[in-house]
């Protein structure tokens, strides 16, 4: 069977593209943990980073965990990801979007006691967009309301 030139080119390009996509997918799979921007509490628990090592910790601020430290300046809160929890201590100005139940990314390091001391806090917005009228709802309720209106 003889192929027309354009069919040869199509087959050649197809094979090249499949090989390229395969190679890149393998590379991305290999990168999956290194390319993450932050650790989540579950990773911290299963594979604890070294004490004093600079890392980023990301997760949700546990409802009701926000409090003040004994020094009266630092704030304490707990970051969780539904599986594990990490106590965090931070001294500085809080971002506007920092509220209990919302996402946060903290840069800092672990103390030997297992507390995460953050130098910088970045608020993390989630994928839910809800008008202010629905403000009193928690994130989960708001998500349900949105799912209801945009079904």
């Amino acid at each position: 069977m003889s192929w027309k030139p354009k069919h040869q080119r199509m087959a050649l390009l197809g094979v090249a593209l499949v090989a390229l996509v395969g190679a890149v997918l393998l590379a991305m799979w290999g990168l999956r943990s290194q390319a993450s921007y932050f650790y989540v509490p579950a990773q911290v628990e299963s594979d604890p980073p070294a004490v004093g090592q600079n890392i980023r910790l990301g997760g949700m601020v546990l409802e009701g965990s926000l409090g003040q430290a004994d020094d009266g300046v630092s704030i304490l809160f707990t970051v969780h990801d539904g599986e594990a929890q990490v106590p965090v201590r931070y001294r500085g100005i809080l971002p506007d979007l920092f509220v209990e139940g919302s996402g946060v990314v903290a840069e800092g390091r672990f103390t030997p006691e297992g507390t995460f001391v953050a130098d910088t806090l970045l608020a993390k917005h989630d994928e839910n967009y809800v008008p202010r009228e629905l403000e009193e709802m928690t994130a989960a309720q708001a998500k349900a309301a949105v799912a209801e209106t945009t079904k």
Binding site: K6, R9, M10, L13, L17, L20, V21, V24, M28, L31, R32, A35, S36, Y37, F38, Y39, V40, G58, P95, D96, L97, V99, S102, V105, T120, L121, L122, A123, K124, H125, D126, E127, N128, Y129, V130, P131, R132, E133, L134, E135, A142, K143, A145, V146, A147, T149, T150, K151
Partner: protein, 239 residues
């Protein structure tokens, strides 16, 4: 499909389709932006900055759609060797790069009040910045390549290989933990309230029409330019 690859037939359609797309796009995008800026309620946590959504999301979509156009046209050029496909790929590069740059700029402006920083090197932001650099590379390569068929294949191959970045951008927020939020709209469900979703959808449609109109206008300009050059060359050959 091959019927429309005929430049004369293409020009006949593009001549009326270009202004139609541009006018419809400007009306839809302008309306959606006016609606988004004045009528939409502030978001629960972001407040007023949510309005950047109506520029950020359409430009993000078109930055990626622009490269998908380059890749698709490059594939068609490499297989069928039709000059019009090469022209389509070349025409998509600048508008795609502009939308990518606007997306990065608006995202950065949104990130400052929302996250507290202008920029982070997470998977989504980094892969999107790479998209902008890929556009610059493609434009330089395409401008540098002479008009012979053999050398036009080089930017076409680059356009095809660069397309691998598109699924990486799309999946980055799922594969890796990122500062950027996950996709709000996935296969039929949306976590964006209807108050934001409607103007957003119309803005996406409008910006897409503008992109289509600019693409056709640029293809016509490239065709006219090469025709003018061919005519000059013929004239120079005459004794």
């Amino acid at each position: 499909m091959h019927g429309y690859a005929n430049p004369a037939r293409f020009l006949k359609i593009a001549r009326w389709l270009t202004p139609v797309l541009l006018v419809v796009g400007l009306v839809l995008a302008g309306g959606a932006l006016a609606w988004g800026l004045t009528q939409v309620p502030p978001e629960r946590l972001q407040g007023e900055t949510v309005r950047i959504l109506f520029v950020h999301v359409p430009t993000a979509w078109l930055g990626m759609a622009g490269w998908t156009t380059i890749a698709g046209a490059s594939f068609a050029y490499l297989v069928w060797r039709h000059p019009l496909a090469d022209i389509a790929a070349r025409a998509a590069a600048w508008p795609g790069a502009c939308f990518t740059a606007i997306c990065l700029a608006t995202g950065s402006i949104w990130a400052r009040p929302t996250w507290g920083v202008w920029w982070v090197w997470d998977g989504r932001l980094t892969s999107f910045l790479i998209l902008l650099f890929l556009y610059f590379g493609y434009i330089a390569l395409s401008n540098g390549a002479a008009q012979s068929e053999a050398s036009r294949r080089i930017p076409a191959i680059f356009g095809l290989v660069g397309a691998i970045n598109i699924p990486i951008i799309n999946r980055s927020v799922e594969w890796w933990e990122t500062q950027h939020q996950r996709a709000s709209i996935t296969a039929g469900t949306s976590s964006i309230d209807a108050a934001f979703l409607w103007p957003l959808g119309i803005a996406v449609l409008g910006f897409t029409c503008i992109f289509g109109g600019v693409l056709l206008a640029r293809m016509r300009a490239i065709l006219a330019h090469s025709q003018a050059e061919a005519r000059l060359r013929r004239k120079a050959m005459q004794p």
